[in-house]
């Protein structure tokens, strides 16, 4: 009896599971041992029905052992290896080929798509064994280069393949097609707001966090959504990273290399954002990896949640620890935060009067802690356009998203080439220790910065972040050197607008 290989998920990583089956005499029963969860335990009904659809009647007492015994097994992904193990123990199959098998079985023997197929493909590649996976998962598996994978439609096909009657279609290698994506809303649709546009362009180019402050109706949300249209497309590796996380949750594969954009409501729970649960699932912050995490109405978010995001935002990864174990998820996000200037929303408005008392205003601002603000590089005021201004700029649309996206993409390419040997892909990723040595600062920057840092009460981290933004601005204007005007512009985004 040789064991059949399957997988179970631990975080985003797929761990190999060996399925051993023994059949003895007695009244029919299936018992599964090896810490199965409810979905695995229920697989016996699916497996039995699927085998019966092939004319295989399972008899006797069936014992299924899932090794390693102390690793909890979850999900329906083990249906297929269990079915193969039983069929093999019944003597209805020739010697099974080496390989990793995954799939959820339908009662009629069809194979359904599963969570964690990408992780399984990575495991199969590292062990250089073939992978047999449901056809539904073929598109995402194709992302893993160098993995020998076969798409399986149903159990009958797989059995026919084992008997040498048919060939299974191999999963072709994925080719990233750079199709320009449709920007909605387009930058050309946004009236006015030249300052905010510029800031968004910088944010997209260097992957810097951004805070938009403005009165109700000033267009904060619209601007945030427009950001998606100017972000550079994901590279193959980045697409693999984001797909790996999505696959862990069973979300469908998104083709085209468009960076994720996750908009989170302020009632969301800490677990849904940071990740967790007994199964240690990734949260929104990881789903937004390599893309945008948008928090609208920022001060309404619970404080402990925001503080919990501090370290992950800095490190680009989040450690989810529970009693059942601990896993690490990547979360290199571009944080976009929108907020009203005060409780009533009209502080600083040219027409409407703010009715907040100074105590209320104080309380509102205190909801957002200094440490969080310190991690947001670009603070932008989004003033409301007055009705007459709106009419005046009617039709005078700015640049379209495609033009801005082209500049952003160029700036990002420069960054990739510059940081390739350090292992980074954009300016915002640089750790503090690297910043000053490699930013190629001009003569005048140091004295200028030291005079300004005192005035603006910048922290050590603040200075590093200003320099990174300055570098991005220089990249956008195609300058080799980071010069005083670049730093000056970066500092201008730093002073918090209304909030300092």
């Amino acid at each position: 009896m040789n064991p059949v290989r399957g997988i179970t998920l631990r975080g985003i990583e797929a761990v190999g599971v060996e399925v051993e089956v023994e059949i003895t005499g007695g009244l029919f029963s299936i018992s599964i041992v090896g810490l199965p969860d409810a979905a695995v335990r229920e697989s016996k009904e699916r497996v039995r029905a699927a085998l019966r659809s092939l004319g295989l009647a399972v008899r006797g007492r069936v014992a299924v052992n899932l090794a390693p015994a102390d690793l909890p097994k979850e999900g329906a992904v083990l249906d297929l290896p269990i079915a193969l193990g039983i069929a093999s123990a019944m003597g209805s199959l020739p010697e099974l080929p080496r390989g990793i098998f995954l799939g959820e079985l339908a009662l009629d023997g069809r194979l359904r798509g599963v969570r964690g197929a990408v992780g399984a493909a990575i495991l199969a590649r590292n062990e250089s064994v073939p992978l047999f996976a449901p056809a539904e998962n073929a598109a995402e598996i194709a992302l893993v280069k160098g993995c020998e994978a076969y798409a399986v439609d149903n159990l009958a096909d797989l059995f026919a393949f084992f008997r040498g009657e048919i060939e299974l279609p191999p999963v072709p290698e994925y080719r990233l097609e750079e199709n320009p994506f449709f920007a909605d809303p387009d930058f050309a649709d946004i009236r006015g707001q030249a300052g905010a546009r510029r800031a968004l362009e910088i944010a997209a180019a260097g992957h810097h966090n951004i805070l938009l402050i403005g009165s109700p109706g000033s267009g904060k949300t619209l601007l945030a959504r427009a950001l998606r249209g100017i972000l550079p497309p994901l590279s193959h590796e980045e697409l693999l990273e984001t797909t790996l996380i999505r696959s862990t949750l069973g979300l469908p594969f998104e083709d085209g290399g468009r960076p994720p954009f996750r908009s989170v409501h302020h009632t969301a729970s800490t677990v849904s954002i940071c990740g967790g649960g007994s199964a240690l699932r990734p949260g929104e912050v990881s789903l937004a990896h390599r893309g945008v995490l948008f928090l609208d109405e920022f001060p309404e978010f619970r404080r402990d949640l925001l503080e919990g995001l501090r370290q992950p935002l800095e490190d680009g990864e989040i450690n989810v620890s529970r009693a059942t174990g601990s896993v690490k998820y990547p979360c290199r996000v571009l944080l976009v935060v929108a907020a009203n200037p005060c409780q009533c929303g009209w502080d600083g408005d040219p027409v409407e009067r703010c009715i907040c008392s100074s105590v209320e205003r104080e309380r509102y601002r205190r909801k957002i802690s200094g440490p969080i603000l310190d991690r947001i590089d670009l603070h932008v005021a989004v003033p409301r356009l007055l009705p007459e201004e709106l009419v005046a700029v009617e039709g005078a649309g700015g640049e379209s998203s495609s033009i801005v996206a082209e500049r952003v993409r160029f700036a990002r390419r420069i960054q990739r080439e510059r940081w390739a040997r350090h292992g980074f892909s954009c300016n915002a990723e640089l750790p503090e220790r690297v910043v000053k040595r490699f930013l190629n600062l001009s003569e005048g920057v140091r004295p200028f910065l030291s005079s300004m840092a005192g005035k603006l009460r910048l922290s050590g981290r603040g200075i590093g972040r200003v320099l990174k933004v300055a570098r991005t601005i220089a990249d956008l204007s195609r300058n080799e050197q980071t010069d005083v005007p670049h730093v000056a512009e970066a500092l201008a985004y730093r002073d918090g607008g209304l909030w300092r």
């Binding site: 005499g25 009244l27 006797g60």
Partner: protein, 124 residues
């Protein structure tokens, strides 16, 4: 003098026996009695031992034969079946089938077989 319904039952079992022989099964024993229950027919289909519970009904009866086997009867069958395989030292797979015999007025009996009625359920 035997009661009429017992005669009907006996007749049904005879019909069932012929039916199973026609299927090519080997009949091992009939009416094996244990304390706590009786097995109507024990047969062998290839390498598997089958405990057959025969239910006979005359046409027009409200409840069909197969429906008259409830969870309690099923548990009893499993228990008695275990006693049987233990006593005969059978260590291969075995199962329980229900054979529902309907006696029609035109003389042609209807026979329906329900295979493996325990289906992996918990009868411990």
């Amino acid at each position: 003098m035997t009661a009429k319904h017992l005669l009907t039952g006996k007749y049904g079992e005879d019909l069932a026996l012929d039916y199973l022989k026609e299927l090519g099964w080997t009949i091992l024993e009939r009416n094996v009695a244990f304390a706590g229950g009786e097995l109507d027919i024990v047969a062998r289909e290839r390498n598997e031992l089958v405990v057959v519970e025969v239910r006979t009904r005359s046409e027009g009866w409200m409840q069909s034969g197969e429906d008259s086997v409830g969870p309690r009867k099923l548990r009893r069958l499993v228990r008695t079946g275990r006693k049987y395989v233990d006593s005969r030292r059978w260590d291969g797979p075995w199962r329980i089938d229900i054979l529902s015999v309907t006696l029609r007025r035109d003389g042609q009996p209807g026979i329906e077989r329900f295979e493996d009625v325990t289906a992996g359920g918990d009868f411990s």
